[in-house]
């Protein structure tokens, strides 16, 4: 174990995977000499060369297609889309190609591809650089979707994603890259599709993803001061959804709040809520609540942006009302 940043943890995962398997390569914009705009690929170009750390022109459809092709003949490309907002210029290669090839070929062609990108608001980047699109990808059969919060999970999930035989959307968060944490040295795998209980509690379950886990933890600490005992679960993977862990918690607490940065309406929180209603109908003391971004594009002005995003105060207020009103 050593204390390193989220970005360094990702870098370690890439480095170890590349050292272990010559079929792993990284492809994207400004990832080589420059080391990636968020520094995740730093030093890899020097170590593995331009043949395996491949800088591309601004051609997301082109290089994702290239990655799909190489993956279909047993390479394990890790493609970096600089901002998740740019996946929208390459959705066909993600949704119609990468995600469907295994099925359309009757399982004869696998696409072990990782698409790394970063999402999230909170930096004043405006409407085209602040989205959280995990709910869009989650709808697509054939894609796995993960979004780590803590550095150890970042390393472990990226390793699992690279070793997975199908396409994985790997969503980092622009405001987590500098977050530090204890990270196991050497190869470290965290299985895709497993949520993690970060704080145990008996009265209220907070389910969060990516940077919102920090908000949930803060809210839990606040609620504790008011005598409300909240459990905090880091979902980690949106697909597959670890319903067993969520249900176990709900059976205990009877109340849940889902927290995500994706827009509230039609976001993944709705799916979790609908499933929990179904499986824990008689356990629910109150309707499952969601605290998520308001249904508007992200405004540039920082005050407005914060107003549109979920807040710790909102989680706390929602938790309080779940305890008092039901």
């Amino acid at each position: 174990m050593s204390e390193i940043s989220y970005a360094q943890a990702l870098n370690q995962a890439l480095d170890l995977a590349m050292a272990a398997d010559p079929k792993v390569f990284v492809i994207g914009e400004d990832i080589g000499h420059h080391g990636g705009v968020f520094g995740v690929t730093k030093g890899l170009w020097e170590k593995y060369g331009a043949q395996r750390i491949i800088d591309t022109p601004i051609s997301e459809t082109g290089f994702l297609g290239v990655a799909v092709g190489a993956a279909s003949v047993a390479f394990r490309p890790v493609a970096e889309i600089m901002w998740v907002d740019f996946t929208l210029v390459a959705m066909d290669q993600i949704v119609n190609q990468a995600a469907k090839t295994s099925y359309m070929s009757g399982g004869r062609v696998k696409v072990p591809l990782v698409i790394r990108t970063q999402e999230g608001a909170g930096r004043g980047n405006g409407a085209q650089h602040s989205q959280s699109l995990e709910s869009m990808f989650a709808q697509v059969p054939g894609l796995k979707v993960v979004a780590p919060f803590d550095p150890a999970d970042a390393k472990g999930l990226l390793t699992a994603a690279i070793e997975d035989d199908g396409p994985v959307l790997f969503l980092e968060h622009k405001l987590l890259y500098n977050r530090k944490g204890e990270v196991p040295e050497g190869r470290h795998v965290v299985p895709i599709g497993k949520a993690r209980v970060r704080r145990e509690g008996s009265q209220l379950t907070l389910i969060a993803l990516s940077r919102m886990v920090a908000y949930a933890e803060e809210a839990a600490a606040e609620l504790a001061k008011e005598g409300i005992d909240a459990e905090v679960i880091d979902l980690r993977s949106v697909v597959p959804l670890d319903m067993a862990t969520l249900e176990a918690s709900l059976r205990k607490t009877g109340r849940a709040i889902i927290v995500h940065e994706a827009h509230q309406s039609f976001g993944w929180g709705a799916e979790v809520a609908a499933r929990l209603m179904d499986s824990c109908f008689y356990d629910l003391i109150a309707p499952v609540q969601r605290v998520a971004s308001k249904d508007v594009p992200f405004p540039f002005n920082r005050t407005l942006e914060a107003f549109v995003m979920p807040s710790v105060a909102q989680i706390v207020a929602t938790g309080r009302s779940l305890m008092n009103d039901y």
């Binding site: 390569f25 043949q51 395996r52 591309t56 022109p57 051609s59 997301e60 459809t61 082109g62 290089f63 994702l64 297609g65 290239v66 990655a67 799909v68 092709g69 190489a70 993956a71 279909s72 003949v73 390479f75 066909d92 290669q93 119609n96 190609q97 090839t101 295994s102 099925y103 359309m104 070929s105 009757g106 399982g107 004869r108 062609v109 059969p141 054939g142 796995k144 997975d164 035989d165 199908g166 396409p167």
Partner: protein, 319 residues
Amino acid sequence: MSQTQPDWRIDAYRDMVRIREFEETSAKLYTQGLVGGSLHLAIGQEGTIMGTVGALASGDQITMTYRGRGHALAKGADPFALFAEILGRQGGTSRGKGGPMHIYDPEVGVMGTNAIVGAGIPIAVGLALAAKMEGASRVAMTAFGDGAVNQGAFHEGLNLAAIWDLPIVFVCENNLYSEMTPIKDAVRNDSLTERAQAYRIRAVTVDGNDVEAVREVAEQAIARARAGEGPTFIECMTYRYVGHMLGDPETYRSKEEVQSWKERDPILLLREKLLREKAATKTQLDAIEAAAREEIAQAADSAQKSPEPQLEEALDDVF
């Protein structure tokens, strides 16, 4: 001119007949309601297919479009498995789950037809990148229509192949129409080679119904790719006799235009040439045709008798 031997032409003749038979039989199955969705036939384009795909080695790999069962046959796919696929049977190339627009047969290098115009192009560039990274001598080829050159994926794919000098051959099957739209409404170019040259990719136009001419340029392109000399773009001028898909009312072109192309039918042209040059006798060619017909008929027949997939199979192969 060509250094190729007569024997390959006989083989090409056989395969062109097989492809035509396959397509015509498919049309019958479709008309009987046995094939779901839409069916896009390559009848008339066999010269282009055999001239290009026929020039590849068995380890080479291809991607192509919804109009691509012929390419798969040319690359060595089993006609039974292809029929089984378009009939949705368990023995199909994709176990009946892909259908006519989604043909994969990785063992013979068929890495996918595609129902999204242009999408197979960057994927093939990825196959070529993989070959180069492995230091393998194999080559990638991707076939697409004249309409595909207007799609972003074409543009991005060609530029990547160019800057990385990849072992790939781009085959543009210019059949003068994209669905119901004539090419003059879609581009200003006299020749689509202009589009490839924009990336500094070597480009040539060839009579796509003259399989020998196509084969010659394809062999050069493949040899160059194999030698590490980068991509080539080949525009093959050809024509589909049938509508864009079965059921197309074809109001966008005249019967005379179709007829004039049929007079330059690639199979007919090769047949006449083989006879004229005495490279084969009429008896020989007739025997080849009969055998091809027989093979295809039997494959279609077996496929129709073959089992459907089990319901549970709908749920596997997702990831």
